[in-house]
């Protein structure tokens, strides 16, 4: 029983480095394996559609006729199922968060025909 039991910790806190960072001037380095956002290395993608089947929230849509792989980031919950199940390991979980959006949209990745082109055309609709 007594008062000011937290006094020592509070006073010593005045002489310690702050535990927080001054965001956005300072940012923390994201740890390896952070579930940020999913991207597709379309040069490897074979449009098999396994990611679409495994996705628990229907965020991924694979269109073979249009050769597109699209992801609705507003539906994606970053569970990583698609990344684990991808047979070509072309889906990657990037350790950075997707930037804020001002409008709802779907990220569409166009998959090149013969996997030769290095150009990735990314559009929003």
């Amino acid at each position: 029983m007594g008062a000011f039991k937290l006094g020592k910790m509070t006073i010593s806190g005045l002489f310690k480095q702050p535990e927080t960072v001054q965001y956005p001037v300072q940012t923390k380095t994201p740890p390896t394996g952070l579930k940020g956002h999913v991207t597709n290395d379309v040069t490897q993608c074979i449009l098999c559609g396994i990611c679409q089947k495994r996705c628990p929230c229907g965020a991924i849509e694979v269109s073979k006729p249009n050769r597109t792989w699209s992801i609705n980031r507003f539906r994606c919950v970053q569970c990583g199922s698609c990344v684990r199940e991808c047979p070509k390991s072309c889906l990657i979980m990037e350790p950075t968060y997707a930037p804020c959006s001002t409008a709802k949209h779907v990220d569409v990745f166009e998959v090149p025909e013969h996997h030769k082109s290095e150009d990735v055309i990314k559009t929003s609709e």
């Binding site: 000011f4 509070t10 628990p56 919950v77 990583g80 199922s81």
Partner: protein, 362 residues
């Protein structure tokens, strides 16, 4: 005795992190009866088993609650594994216990912070949440998420923790322990805290057993019931486990039980890390649960015993998934503990059962 008045409390109230409504029948500032009402955050998550297969539902299960997210995915996976007769590798069981106990550490420290906030001790609240942040950093490094981890799957876990990370966890926990002991001193010995908690919201051992209370709420009324002592999963390999109990039955006892459980959880994690075996972290699970197969499982969540039930129908989707959460048990005891308390103490009594309405309503 004055005239009885009904005072509505919640669902939006500064002390409530989640929506719970109480009609408090008061006479002369004394609560004579409390009538609870829930149903503000029902999301129909159990119904989703009909449209998500048993592998996908694990991501729904962990979204039942933000604090015990890991516990729900762990409990669900354990139930489905029993349903399908899957033997989980030993290393995966140890990893699950490590994450589950880390969740308990962060949940209890979060709760202690909220309790400090409720009785107006702002700096104590901030120190608690500062410590909790270090646990969240461990989660971020080992699972890739701070709140929702998605590391459990039916048949094991999806990520391993390597030796360097395990050593780092021990180092961080030792640091937390040093700071935490000072915070615990403030909670258990500071007069300003004791004035608000000692003798408030008393629940007797008889009431706690008759009303089937679970978790720290029951243990503070001297009920020595903790699912971890049943030795399910890697808990069976613990050298020694005794539930922390207290006989006082008031808000102070409930705070003390939770405060001591943090240190107990840290000890469990350290023992698990010291004894973790090497090997696989998951087994492949093929097929579907058999038609009519049933399985049940209990897990000690930070708030108490959570019961899971699953029934298969021969397809990838389960026929039924049911869980009974600790708060749905504890609400009856909360109503009992509120009877006879001062109106000004209502917030402390509600907070010390650590209600999780999102879990309860799903």
């Amino acid at each position: 005795m004055g005239k009885a008045t009904i005072i509505p409390f919640g669902p939006q109230h500064p002390v409530l992190p989640e929506p719970l409504h109480l009609d408090l029948v008061v006479e002369d500032e004394k609560v004579v009866e409390a009538i609870p009402q829930i149903g503000f955050v029902h999301r129909g998550l159990e119904k989703l088993v009909e449209t998500r297969d048993y592998n996908q539902f694990i991501y729904v299960a962990e979204r039942i609650c933000g604090i015990c997210a890991f516990g729900h995915s762990y409990g669900y996976a354990e139930t489905v594994e029993r349903l399908m007769g899957v033997e989980v590798p030993e290393r995966a069981q140890y990893l699950r216990v490590i994450w589950h106990e880390l969740s308990r550490v962060h949940s209890h420290i979060l709760w202690l912070g909220l309790a400090a906030d409720a009785f107006g001790y702002e700096s104590l609240f901030m120190h608690c949440w500062r410590l909790r942040e270090r646990v969240l950093d461990i989660f971020e490094k080992t699972t890739g998420g701070r709140v929702i981890f998605s590391v459990v799957k039916v048949g094991g876990v999806v990520r391993d923790i390597d030796a360097a990370q395990l050593a780092e966890i021990i180092r961080v926990l030792e640091g937390i322990k040093q700071d935490y002991k000072q915070i615990m001193d403030a909670f258990l010995k500071d007069s300003s805290v004791m004035n608000r908690t000692v003798g408030v919201g008393y629940l007797s051992f008889e009431d706690a057993t008759n009303l089937s209370m679970v978790g720290p709420f029951a243990r503070a009324s001297n009920v020595p019931y903790d699912v971890r002592s049943l030795g399910i999963g890697a808990y069976g390999s613990l050298s020694d486990f005794e539930p922390i109990v207290d006989a006082q039955g008031d808000c102070y006892a409930r705070m003390k039980v939770r405060a001591l459980e943090v240190l107990q959880s840290i000890d469990i994690i350290e023992e698990m890390i010291a004894r973790i075996p090497s090997g696989d972290i998951a087994v492949a699970v093929k097929g579907s649960p058999a038609d009519g197969a049933e399985a049940a499982c209990v897990v000690e969540q930070p708030r108490g015993e959570c019961y899971y039930y699953a029934r298969g129908n021969g397809s990838k989707n389960l026929e039924r998934m049911r869980m009974r959460t600790p708060t749905s048990q504890n609400l009856a005891g909360m109503v009992k503990a509120l009877e006879g308390c001062d109106l000004a103490d209502v917030n402390m009594v509600i907070l010390t059962i650590d209600p999780c309405i999102s879990c309860t309503e799903r």
